[in-house]
């Protein structure tokens, strides 16, 4: 048929990048999803046959997003899988034999209660009438499963709820250390560290690393994200950690329009405080309980890296952040820096990191041990100190590295991690996730699947013996369909 000569053909307003699978944010059924680039923004679009179309911003810089793909390291098989493939990703977690990566980091949520009731909490925790606290036996079994899968696990993080209010938390930390877990972390809001001097001492005694929630310095930030002004408590918690020699990671949840401006001071505190050796920025995860948000205007890793670079131009550039190869490289970017009298020296200025972590060109490297050292550093299980091996082997035969032993306390790690939510969930990334939630029945469920697909609600219902409503995102376009759950999150009305 002849085309009408006057009708001009029009290009689509976007570049089609990939077809993947996701879930309906409302009913959680598995649906196809497209990932497209529009105005240099990476946007997921999907349609549920029952609930219609959904769009969400996945990454705000398409150039960075696509450039990161070559950092995709081949995954390593765990020693054992816990489930079988039956319904396909993300319904068989986990880990099922189709999973592409072992667990760099395991998480055990020891309870569901918390001594805070933050407006933002992906775990939907708080002062609640129902809930659970795991027994020593349960946790022991979970660690056994983790060890069976990993051999010598790198990092185990105790979380909650608020793990510090679990009556036997010190024993749990000790238990994990006793099983050969290299780094045992306590993910805490710091209230108990601030108030109970014996607790900080006990944490130090069992060799725990403190993963301290720290969102900023403004009262307004605290009220918006935590519902209370916790500034004095955070300061006391940090002082207690310093006193007891505990090492600390500051973990900031960053939400659009609330605390984006605080990146500079959080990093500066991280660099200067004797107890702190790392800072992690996490764009707020829109799973569980959170503020109303627009899925097309959410913060992504690219935004956070640009915030850091814009607020600390003398210290960091966006290209100082390296995509982490162990997980899917779009999920996490990290920057190591050495602190000296003039500020910080990003590792990327010292070593051509990118040349070593390019897995797509698949070449022979003249010095494979440098790649191994870099892989240890750029991983979800990394902690500062990992760079010592790199600097030693990268510069062997010179007098400098001998002196680098003394540099350890000057090393600083900055990470940016965007967790997926029911809007942005992409099985492409999920299948290579290396951060797993360990469940009391011994499964290792990728963190973002756990929070988005419905696993969290199932586990909570089973442990607490109550019905738990399926949680849906508190997104602008869904507002007319939502009702509040007893925990403050949203469910379908």
């Amino acid at each position: 048929m002849r085309r009408n000569a006057t009708a001009a053909r029009v290009d689509r307003p976007e570049v089609f990048l990939e077809l993947t699978k996701s879930i309906c944010p409302l009913c959680k059924r598995v649906i196809d999803a497209e990932v497209n680039v529009r105005d240099n923004r990476v946007i997921m679009r999907k349609r549920c046959p029952e609930h219609g179309p959904f769009e969400a911003l996945v990454y705000s810089d398409a150039e960075l997003y696509t450039a990161q793909l070559r950092f995709n390291k081949p995954g390593t098989l765990p020693l054992e899988f816990q489930t079988e493939v039956r319904d396909g990703c993300p319904l068989d977690c986990g880990l099922c034999p189709e999973h592409k990566q072992h667990a760099c980091l395991g998480i055990i949520e020891v309870n569901s209660s918390c001594n805070l009731d933050c407006p933002i909490c992906f775990a939907d925790s708080g002062h609640q009438p129902d809930g659970f606290a795991l027994t020593l036996e349960q946790v022991s079994f979970m660690i056994d499963r983790f060890v069976a899968a990993e051999g010598e696990p790198e990092v185990l993080q105790f979380s909650g709820g608020e793990p510090s209010i679990h009556p036997r938390i010190i024993e749990l930390l000790e238990l994990a250390r006793g099983r050969g877990v290299r780094v045992v972390m306590l993910n805490t809001n710091g209230l108990r560290l601030a108030r109970d001097p014996r607790f900080a001492a006990d944490c130090a005694r069992v060799g725990a690393h403190v993963y301290l929630q720290f969102d900023g310095f403004d009262r307004r930030t605290h009220l918006a994200i935590r519902g209370r002004d916790l500034r004095a408590e955070k300061e006391r918690a940090l002082a207690a950690c310093e006193r007891e020699g505990l090492s600390v990671t500051l973990v900031a949840a960053v939400e659009k329009g609330i605390n984006e401006h605080e990146a500079r001071e959080i990093v500066r505190l991280g660099v200067s405080h004797p107890a702190v050796n790392s800072v992690v920025f996490q764009p707020v995860t829109h799973a569980g309980r959170h503020l109303v948000f627009d899925p097309l205007e959410r913060l992504t890793n690219a935004d956070v890296m640009k915030l850091v670079a814009a607020q600390l131009p003398d210290w960091f550039r966006v290209d100082d952040f390296v995509p982490v190869p162990c997980c899917f490289p779009n999920c996490r970017s990290m920057c190591y820096a050495l602190v000296d009298s003039d500020g910080v020296i990003p590792l990327t200025r010292l070593v051509e990191v990118e040349d070593y972590l390019d897995y797509v060109s698949n070449r022979v490297l003249p010095d494979p041990e440098i790649r191994v050292a870099l892989e240890r550093m750029f991983s979800a299980s990394a902690t500062p100190g990992a760079e010592a091996a790199l600097l030693a082997c990268e510069s062997c035969g010179i007098d400098v590295p001998a002196a680098l032993a003394g540099m350890r306390e000057h090393a600083f790690l900055l990470a940016v991690q965007d967790f997926q939510d029911p809007y942005t969930l992409n099985v492409r990334q999920l299948m290579k996730c290396c951060v797993e939630q360990i469940t009391p029945d011994g499964r290792l469920i990728p963190f973002c699947a756990y929070n988005s697909v419905g696993y969290r609600e199932q586990v909570r219902a089973a442990l607490a013996g109550v019905e738990v409503s399926p949680v849906v995102p508190n997104a602008v376009p869904l507002q007319p369909l939502l009702a509040e759950t007893p925990y403050g999150s949203r469910t379908m009305a």
């Binding site: 022979v364 600097l391 010179i398 400098v400 000057h410």
Partner: protein, 278 residues
């Protein structure tokens, strides 16, 4: 001032065999790293059955890269027997002994027959060859008719170089003897090569400056207080001037691709924008 030939050779040998200098410059001595090397190798257009020579190959990393990228045989040539021995070991460890070989040799008297190779790679080293006309003639001689030379090098406009960097000139021979880009192009044309591509890559040099600065700072932070930090401090003091010269185009880094004419006829030379030659 210009260093004598002997001084330049001694300086380069010292720099590249001193572990501290090697560490300061990083594992890849030349600016632009692997990506710029890859661009040069691809520009050679060597077929898989061809041969590439890598002149002043150092530890042979680019030689190996050339063999892998083109699928052809590659010969690395360097003046330093130590570097050649290390390059041989690395190629053997990588299982590439069949496709890569290494020879000790001088760029001004290459140990290759006339027209022996299909492509010549020469990275960041022409500035260190004392007799550049002779070296250029050698690079052209060993090329088959139609074969290409892909070269990267430091470029400098000595008359505009600030006084503070004259000290640097004294101890970094490659800077002392680097030429302006225009005369580099003339040099190759004078050797009978048809220049096809000229590009400035000053950003690559900026990254090297940045790496040297970062490593000087690291060394200063790591070394004990009683160590002699004077040299490190003096090195760090030069960084702002070097950076400024780079921004002004007084210092820079460039690549040139040139072809040996076929059958004695002049190869077509692409017209070059004057701005490229500053």
């Amino acid at each position: 001032m210009t260093a004598t030939a002997a001084e330049i050779k001694a300086c380069c040998a010292a720099a590249y065999s001193s572990p501290f200098a090697a560490w300061l410059l990083g594992p890849r001595f030349h600016p632009g790293g692997r990506a710029l090397t890859e661009q040069l190798i691809r520009a050679l257009g060597v077929p898989p059955e061809g041969v590439v020579a890598d002149v002043a190959c150092g530890l042979g990393e680019s030689t190996v890269q050339a063999a892998r990228t083109t699928g052809s045989r590659a010969i690395g040539i360097d003046l330093s027997p130590d570097s050649i021995a290390a390059a041989r070991r690395a190629a053997e460890d990588a299982g590439l002994a069949d496709s890569v070989e290494f020879l000790v040799g001088d760029a001004e008297a290459l140990p290759l027959e006339d027209g022996a190779v299909d492509g010549v790679l020469c990275e960041c080293s022409l500035c260190t060859f004392p007799d550049k006309e002779r070296a250029a003639a050698e690079l052209a001689r060993v090329l088959k008719p139609g074969g290409r030379l892909a070269l990267s090098d430091m470029v400098a406009d000595h008359e505009r170089l600030p006084a503070s960097l004259r000290t640097l000139e004294a101890w970094v021979a490659c800077l002392a003897d680097a030429r302006p880009l225009g005369s580099l192009v003339e040099l190759l044309a004078g050797a009978g090569l048809g220049v096809e591509i000229v590009e400035r890559h000053d950003d690559a040099l900026a990254r090297v400056f940045e790496r040297v600065e970062a490593r000087l700072r690291l060394a200063r932070a790591a070394l004990s207080r009683d160590a002699d930090l004077g040299l490190l401090e003096r090195g760090l003091d030069l960084v702002p001037a070097a950076r400024e010269s780079l921004e002004l185009g007084i210092l820079g880094y460039a690549i040139v691709v040139a072809r040996r004419p076929v059958d004695g006829r002049d190869a077509t030379t692409r017209p070059l924008a004057a701005s490229n030659l500053v």
